[in-house]
């Protein structure tokens, strides 16, 4: 066949291929193919991103005159305790949204892999994934109802004799943030579990066989084989969940509105309030830029970490 002939003629490198494409005029047409996506992206994502950075250097109320203030907004974010607290809250949430789903997800995926490879496994996968599919605001409403003083969680606690622990979980200063964290775990655990499980199915079963022959228990198996080989999947899990935590808005807005006090005030909600209620667009933009940088600062090294030993 002509294809085979060409292949034997000259082993073309990737750059060679694209040069060839360019010579054939593919480059121009190719760029036309990219253009629509690029244009939409540029107008509605890149341009606002640049504008956010631009606004953050001014003090503006949204329709009056803007005054240049340089980096003053950033200083404000870093020195006003309530604003700085939102960033700490975001990290606290990340422990719940990220560390727990990944850790617990590893355990669950391991369990499914070891003891439930049949119908039970498929059912578990589907059921655990359900919370991912519903709107986050619905999750917030449902859990707001469950965590209320007269809600199901307290009922169960009372039923098992732990009545002294009952409280309004979302209204209590000590438990509001962890309670929102629990909602996040409920939403994200399924994602991590299924992701890790899919990764596990790509691991050579022979490895597991030989480990079992050597008498390895489930924890050793997890530590020695699964975790090292699932590096890429774990990093993806961490990335998605950390972004969900740092950028959290829907769940917190519906479940607690940012209260009580500033216990669950996260950057997402603060940006919304600053920009649209207090009309301090510059300050809101500075906080937004810092949030974006924070996300990048965590996520980029994570990616690098996953590629290191490929």
């Amino acid at each position: 066949m002509s294809t085979g002939t060409r292949r034997q003629d000259a082993p073309l490198s990737a750059s060679g291929l694209s040069r060839l494409a360019w010579l054939r005029g593919d480059g121009v047409v190719g760029w036309l193919f990219v253009l629509p996506a690029l244009v939409m992206y540029a107008i509605f994502v890149l341009q606002p991103l640049a504008l956010t950075i631009w606004y953050s250097l001014y003090r503006w109320d949204g329709f009056g005159v803007a005054t240049w203030v340089g980096f003053r907004n950033y200083v404000t974010v870093l020195t006003v305790p309530d604003l700085l607290e939102t960033i700490f809250n975001a990290f606290r949430l990340a422990v719940f949204f990220s560390v727990v789903p990944v850790g617990l997800g590893l355990v669950v995926a391991n369990v499914i892999h070891r003891v439930a490879s049949g119908a039970l496994g498929t059912l578990s996968r589907t059921v655990l994934f359900l919370p991912q599919v519903i709107p986050l605001v619905a999750a917030g409403i449902i859990w707001g109802w469950l965590l209320a003083l007269s809600g199901l969680v307290n009922e169960i606690l009372a039923a098992v004799g732990l009545r002294s622990l009952t409280r309004a979980w979302l209204g209590d200063f000590g438990t509001a943030l962890p309670a929102v964290g629990i909602i996040g775990i409920w939403v994200l655990l399924g994602f991590c579990t299924v992701l890790l499980l899919t990764g596990m199915s790509k691991i050579d079963p022979a490895l597991y066989e030989s480990a079992r022959l050597d008498g390895a228990g489930w924890f050793t198996e997890l530590r020695a084989i699964t975790v090292p080989l699932l590096r890429q999947e774990i990093v993806v899990c961490l990335t998605v969940t950390v972004i969900a935590a740092l950028a959290a808005f829907d769940i917190v807005y519906i479940a607690t509105g940012g209260g009580p006090g500033h216990a669950t005030a996260v950057p997402g909600i603060q940006i919304y309030i600053l920009a649209f209620v207090e009309r301090q667009v510059g300050l809101a933009s500075a906080l937004a830029v810092m949030l974006t940088l924070l996300v990048l600062a965590i996520v980029v090294p994570l990616q690098w970490f996953s590629r290191e030993r490929v």
Binding site: L149, W169, L170, G171, F173, G259, Q280
Partner: protein, 453 residues
Amino acid sequence: MSYTSLRRTGLAVRGLPALLMAVALVGACAPGAGTNSSSGSASGGTAGCGTSPVTLNAYFETGFDLPFKLSAEFTKQYPNVTFDIKQDQFTNLINETPRVLASSDPPDLIRLPTMASFAKEGLLKNLDAYASGFGWDKWPVPQLTQNRVTKDGTRGSGSLYAMGLNYSLTGVFYNKKLAAQAGISAPPKTLAEFDDDLAKAKAAGLLPIMEWGSAKSGMGLAFPLQALMASVGQVGPINDWIFDKSAATIDTTSNLQAAQHLEQWIKKGYFPSDINAIEYTDSNARFTKGEGVFTFNGDWENADYDKNLSGSTGFFVMPPSQAGGNPAAMSAPLTYGIAANAKHADCAAFFFNWVGSNRTARQIDVTVGGSNPGGPAGASVPSVTAGSITSETLAAGNVIGKAGTAMDFIANATSSIFAQGWTPELQKMVGGQEDAAGLLKAVQAEYQREIAS
């Protein structure tokens, strides 16, 4: 029994016969009592809705029937006028208002829980011409001064920038059955008596006060706090602070006393333990289902309380700390405004006038809204069911009006003092993370930060 003794001592009895007499007299003598107010009745008042079809663009708060019923009645009387109503929950409404007013198709009628900053920025229509044209500035409604704003954003004087659909009154509602159970025989006449009543309720194993406090509805403890402030101190400085007068501060000695008093109530367990998670509507639902002897709320809830706790709800204005002193209460217009660039401002202004002067509108105001309809002197007095909670609040409103001790709400001092100041700080006080002094200092600092920007 306690009910009869209440009637013997309380405002209810003193007010009710007077009210009934007033109805009889006014009803018999008032000119044009049975007709609608005509559009051109006031001198120079040619503003109206015309005869060609007009659609008023409106933005109302979800969950409160009054403006919906009023607009439906208006369309019934003036069929060429229809309403295109958008509605949103309180927090969303507050958040959206600045943008909505500045948009290219702003509302002709908009609910304005706060309005001074919008007036200052020129987003609201100046209603002075309508006020003189329709004669609103002659209405015996002192609360309208709350809607006047000077050029530098101070309220209480200056041009009129918003009207009220009615004039609310806040105070203390109580569950008569539970009060009897706690051995409370009459509404308290002084603050000390009220403290005793609360202790009795607690001793009887009842929840003394039901209130809301979730960040989603805002902190309801602002009501008892302000009631206490006015009970132990003067009303003037409080209003000055709310109106953003220069050098006004909320951190005063008497306010500190009031805040400490509230702190005591919190520490004694007079409020629900989960108050920081209770939303406004939940609080009312729980109160009408018998949780809480007292609740601080306003007469806009009358219809709800009458329906769900009928015959069993009582009302009194927060008593003063000194025996025989004047009671004070928050009493504010149910503020609605017209956007500066509204397309049908004249028709909207005519609607405002109609609400205050038209007989059916005024009746709806009282029946559905539970509050005093204001309006011109000599306007029809709506009938009220004897013994209903509304008759008690209307009578109490008269007392406050005469004493001149009406206040606006401390939550309205600036556009976000409630969400960013009172709510988080009061929640912290409930959680034991802040004391009374810290509360006032923090709120004052937030207030100054917002005024400055």
